[in-house]
């Protein structure tokens, strides 16, 4: 064999060896998120997908929560993968489609998991919940958003409420009365407009929440479900609510370009005193400027008309799930269930209220002095409400309706359609994608 040939063959061998080495080291490499119990070779490894990281208020509870769990469990090794905020939707979908789901993951209710449940990707936890008697530790109806056709698919970890907050100082300064009815709200909007302020610190979500609240003031959970299953079309209640939302838009109650404002940007209008009123999801409570808390007050949302009831839109909103793959492996199921029970435990539920300033679905006692003042007021408003209804945004609607109705509501808001057309379009949408949750 000539020297030249030997050199060629040697180079080829080195090349293949290099590729093989690179590949094998990539496979055996430990991922960044490993919170390992490396000492215990028999430890079960759980892949966890969480969105509660970084600036998310709930991360203050769940990031240290994972560390504590890991420290207390030598037999379980957590491999934490993160997808901050809403990006968890795309990451979870990619992993589910690749048939490589995380063992345990956070997500919203069936409005975002219906397809996974129907494709048998998420485990039905009904038996496990009953065996451990977990239902008793939650507030009533906490499981509703994860119940699907008789099964229960997740454990609630946080709740929500839409809260109406006013800047008392700005109201006093401009001699405006805090509104308790829609008509008073219109008057307040006109007065603040004249004073050069933006009456509502809102983005498109806030405007939609307002409309949903006026709708819910004339509904109960039992009367609203038939509207989502298509058994009964939306009627006058939605028409009146959408007329109010459209009228406020015409009056200039909202900031210009609210459709493209993020929730944080709209909150900034309130935090800086440009707007005296704010109606939003409770996750924003932790982001309110602490310097102005003394000037603020949470008040009941204005009643639509004489027939409206004092209503709080509230319910469980975020959950922890187990994949069907993990459930089918007895060892993983046990480890995953242990982790889920911890994540949805009263211990962390208390911290959700005290540290993350958010609502908890757990029936826990908390230290009032530790809780955020705004959250405390919001809880009081909810407890005093005559009627508590979950948000159509957070629960009840099918995934198909959920995917389309935000755009539809934006069309109403931008006056691209009339309230009558909006109601008709909503009924068509529900007819096309009826909720199957309660079948």
């Amino acid at each position: 064999m000539g020297n030249k040939k030997k050199i060629w063959l040697m180079m080829a061998f080195i090349f293949i060896l290099a590729i093989a080495t690179a590949c094998s080291s990539a496979e055996s490499g430990q991922t960044e998120g490993d919170q390992g119990n490396e000492a215990n070779e028999d430890a079960i490894t759980l892949n966890v997908l969480t969105s509660l990281v970084g600036e998310q208020p709930l991360s203050a509870v769940y990031e240290p929560g994972f560390e504590t769990f890991n420290a207390e469990h030598d037999d379980i090794n957590l491999n934490i993968n993160t997808a901050a905020g809403n990006s968890i939707r795309e990451k979870l979908l990619a992993e589910m489609a690749a048939n490589n789901p995380p063992d345990v993951f956070f997500h919203w209710g069936t409005r975002r998991t219906e397809n996974y449940i129907e494709s048998d990707k998420i485990a039905d936890l009904t038996e496990l919940i009953e065996e451990d008697g977990l239902a008793d530790q939650y507030v009533e109806d906490a499981f509703n958003p994860v119940e699907y056709q008789g099964g229960t698919y997740g454990l609630p970890i946080s709740s929500y409420m839409y809260y109406f907050m006013v800047n008392k100082q700005l109201f006093e300064e401009h001699g405006v009365e805090i509104p308790s009815t829609y008509d008073e709200l219109v008057t307040a909007v006109e007065q603040f407009k004249e004073a050069g302020l933006i009456p509502m610190a809102a983005n498109n979500h806030s405007a939609r929440y307002m409309m949903l609240t006026w709708l819910s003031q004339k509904k109960t959970i039992d009367s609203i479900i038939p509207n989502t299953t298509g058994e009964e079309p939306f009627g006058d209640a939605l028409l009146e609510a959408s007329e109010k939302a459209a009228e406020l838009q015409q009056l200039g109650a909202f900031p210009d370009g609210k459709e493209t404002l993020s929730t944080s940007q709209s909150l900034e209008l309130f935090n800086t005193g440009v707007s005296p009123m704010f109606y939003q999801h409770s996750w924003t409570i932790g982001a309110i400027n602490p310097d102005i808390v003394d000037q603020l007050e949470v008040v009941p949302f204005p009643l639509g008309d004489g027939e409206s009831k004092n209503t709080a839109i509230s319910g469980a909103g975020f959950f922890v799930y187990m994949s069907q793959q993990a459930y089918d492996d007895p060892e993983k199921r046990e480890a995953a269930w242990e982790l889920m029970k911890y994540l949805a435990s009263p211990e962390l539920g208390k911290q959700v209220i005290e540290k993350a300033s958010d609502f908890s679905p757990l029936d826990v006692d908390y230290d009032v002095s530790e809780a955020n003042e705004i959250l405390r007021q919001a809880i009081e408003i909810r407890d005093r409400a005559d009627n508590i209804v979950p948000s159509l945004d957070e629960a009840l609607f099918s995934q198909g309706v959920q995917d389309n109705y935000w755009t539809l509501t934006d069309e109403l808001s931008l006056q691209e359609m009339t309230p009558e057309e909006y109601v008709e379009a909503m009924n068509e949408l529900v007819e096309e994608h009826p909720s199957k949750q309660f079948e």
């Binding site: 040939k5 979908l93 489609a97 493209t260």
Partner: protein, 288 residues
Amino acid sequence: MALQRKWILILFAAPTVLFYLFFFISPLLNTVYNSLFDWNGLSDKTFIFIDNYINLFQDEIFIRSLKNTFYWVFLVLFVQIPFGFFLAYFLYLKVKGFKFLRTVFFIPVVTSTVAVALVFSFIYEPNFGIINAFLREIGLGHLTTAWLSDELTAMTAVSVPFVWQNIGLMMVIIYAGLQSIPDEIIEAGEIDGVGFFQKIIHIVIPMIKNVLIVCLVLGVTYAFKLFDYVLLLTNGGPIHRTEVTGTYMYIKGFQELNYGYGNSIAVTMTIIVLFLSVIINKGLKSKG
């Protein structure tokens, strides 16, 4: 000996060829295949042949997103490349500090898209944003608007960062082309008394025609491919006013779990880009 040498060459080429087949060709074929199914990425696939394509061309939102994407192509042709050309020509004249300016003009290209989008979201912010504040300061408050929402301005507003960021890229490519023009040709033209615009139109542009074709193909490809600015600034809204084919494909595939339909959008986009690239190449080369 020659046969053995051939095998060694094949051995060396194989990893790259396999890599290319696995990571580039196979996903492309897979996309075409999936576009023929009704599939949400999770359940069993249902073969529907070309129904996704039939629905696509009856889908008003897709048509709107296609129009918006062609608006980007228009901006590439009539704003991005001409600006890139004049910046490149400016540098080609070796003005004082041209090396520094070359770096400055190129900085946007290497800047993170997220950072650019964030800056522009502050610029466009309707209540505190720089544009509206400036207009109010100079007494043109009546011209203020919600730049990203207003039907008249939304699409242009999301296009500006895309056009601005890639002008530097066009400039660098054209600048490289300008440097390859022999000085004698320019000098001969100057001796013959050509004016500034005559020089550009009759000497410079014909000499760098192939480079301009590359710019055109790249620009059209980017216009169809890029959607991050839309996603970050408006997410295609409000009410699809700023939807482009890229965002619509993403929403259908990854948010509404309509994988088959999303794949049909991807295939359609690929065909359009290929068609335009061929037209540009054939059309401009034949005139040479």
